[in-house]
Amino acid sequence: MAADASSAAGAPVRASWRSDRDVVWLLTLWIVLSIIGCLLVALVWGPHMPPGRASSTAASQATDITVLATIATPVVIGILLYFGWALAFWRQKPGDETDAAPLHGNIKVQATWIVATSAIVLALAVYGTVELIAPAGAGAGQGPQPIFKNGMPPAASTTSWSPNSNNILQVQVIGQQWAWTFRYPQFGGFETTQLALPVNQPVQFNVTSLDVIHSFWAYTLGVKADANPGVNNVAYTTPNTLGDFQVRCAELCGIWHGAMYDTGEVLTDSNFMAWTQTESVKLASVTKLLPPYALTYDPTTIAILGKVNTALGLTGAGGGFYNPADPEQP
């Protein structure tokens, strides 16, 4: 420790609490602990990072989280180490009423801090952009005209599909209070409450809603896309693990929002094709009653609705479900 000095006003002032020995110890400990911490985060914790590796997008997200956690580790360790060191060794001694040393700017420290943090932030910006492109949007909804499609086959046909063709499988996700339904336009357009996907086949989710805003969240597949009424929100993924996965609504959408979940399943190609055949037959009678497949649906276009509401004297909504003056309060 440096010796006490006196301020201009005559009050005793401590010149500094630091010594070169402190700096050497702190730097040494920080480097050693950071190396250990980074290895633990990257190699031990990394393989278990959420959301797992059940799809291309999920695996990419798990890698991204591992990279970010590894980069953050030295920063966290540095802060905690400095904090702990200050508490342990730079405490004011009993009876010591001297003021702390005046602070002065340090060009070297400031320049190092600005350059280092700028480099880290810019590098992460580049990394993040690349990671958006590589897994075709990272599993997030990109609106009706996706920018990031890297590696995804084109929608060569919207009326037929076979495994391993250069034609992406399209699955429409329809949110409604309070259930998810799924439509398969390439298999006759049947709609079902079950979500099945073939393993190792690229999938294009077309996500929309019939009423309020929902959010389609297939957590372990690393897919999350808002379901907005009147909007087609496209998200991509390629499942790579057979078995069940959970689907939840991630947007508060009303009283039964918490119950709006499903269990999807990733099947082998042959089982998936058999499933589509079974569902097509089972749902044939209702499939022909569905509106023609479209990327969005407007419930106010139900032809009979205006007639029914007029007959019942319910003309306020102009023949639609929605009154322009809604929401009406009780």
Binding site: L210, A259, D326
Partner: protein
């Protein structure tokens, strides 16, 4: 003198020698604030969300692996302070009265024979998928009114076209069990204009003969106890945004819970 008497405490205050607020005043403020927060939470729970509807317990009435549950739909709820809301009622298995509730309990691993008296008029389904019966025995419901026609006798029906004939008034769906039953509506719009005007639609209210359908179906409860929510998929909360507010968003009207008991 006046200046002097004010200046002394202020000077002391600036020197941090006295507290601006006394300890009793601080404690009182804290207690009042705490009680205000508690009162606010209780108000939201009991007045905004409302009390949980009563449960009609059918478990003791099961016999030979079966139990009969009777419900009713009405175009209004005149027994509440929301008379223009549509609602379900459930028959009390003991008194046979229709109570204003949507909560009921049935035993596990039991066939539930449901009868729904549908006294409401039609509303087209927003999603025609809900026009298909699913999850019941044979994936059918038994009804005499079907797609705008009166059948000579009740038949098992699997699919309704609510867009062509406005033949559905509500649905009874338990999503987690894959159950969906469209509730057929009376045959014509003219009958809809003669719907019963009080609720429940019973002999006591001289409304039991108003236009209505009788929908019957059966399903088997899971073998393990649990609570399963059920709801209507017709956006029948007219006057509310998306038709899903009001009775659609309030327990005890168009959605409820089936408790499966051991």
């Amino acid at each position: 003198m006046a200046w002097h008497s004010w200046a002394q405490p202020l000077d002391a205050l600036r020197r941090n020698e006295v507290d601006p607020v006394s300890l009793p005043a601080r404690v009182a403020t804290l207690v009042v604030a705490f009680l205000a927060v508690v009162a606010g939470v209780l108000w939201v729970v009991f007045d905004i969300i409302g009390p949980q509807p009563q449960t009609e317990n059918y478990t003791a009435y099961a016999k030979n692996g079966q139990v009969n549950v009777t419900m009713m739909t009405t175009a209004q709820t005149t027994v509440t302070n929301k008379p223009d809301w549509v609602s379900y009622f459930i028959q009390n298995p003991s008194t046979k009265q229709f109570d204003h509730t949507t909560y009921f309990a049935v035993p596990a691993n039991t066939t539930v024979n449901v009868t729904i008296l549908g006294y409401d008029g039609c509303t087209p389904l927003r999603n025609p998928l809900w026009g298909q019966v699913a999850g019941t025995d044979g994936n059918v419901e038994n009804v005499q009114y079907y797609n705008g026609k009166t059948l000579s006798a009740a038949q098992n029906i699997s699919t309704f076209d609510s867009w062509a004939n406005c033949s559905v008034q509500h649905t009874f769906a338990i999503p987690n069990l894959g159950i969906n039953v469209p509730i057929a509506s009376p045959t014509t719009l003219s009958e809809n204009n003669n719907l019963c005007g009080t609720s429940p639609c019973t002999a006591a209210n001289q409304d039991q003969n108003s236009p209505h359908t009788v929908v019957k179906f059966s399903f088997k409860t899971p073998s393990t106890p649990g609570a399963y929510r059920w709801q209507c998929f017709v956006p029948c909360g007219l006057g509310y945004v998306d038709g899903n507010g009001g009775p659609m968003g309030t327990p005890g009207y168009m959605g409820g819970q089936m408790e499966v008991q051991a």
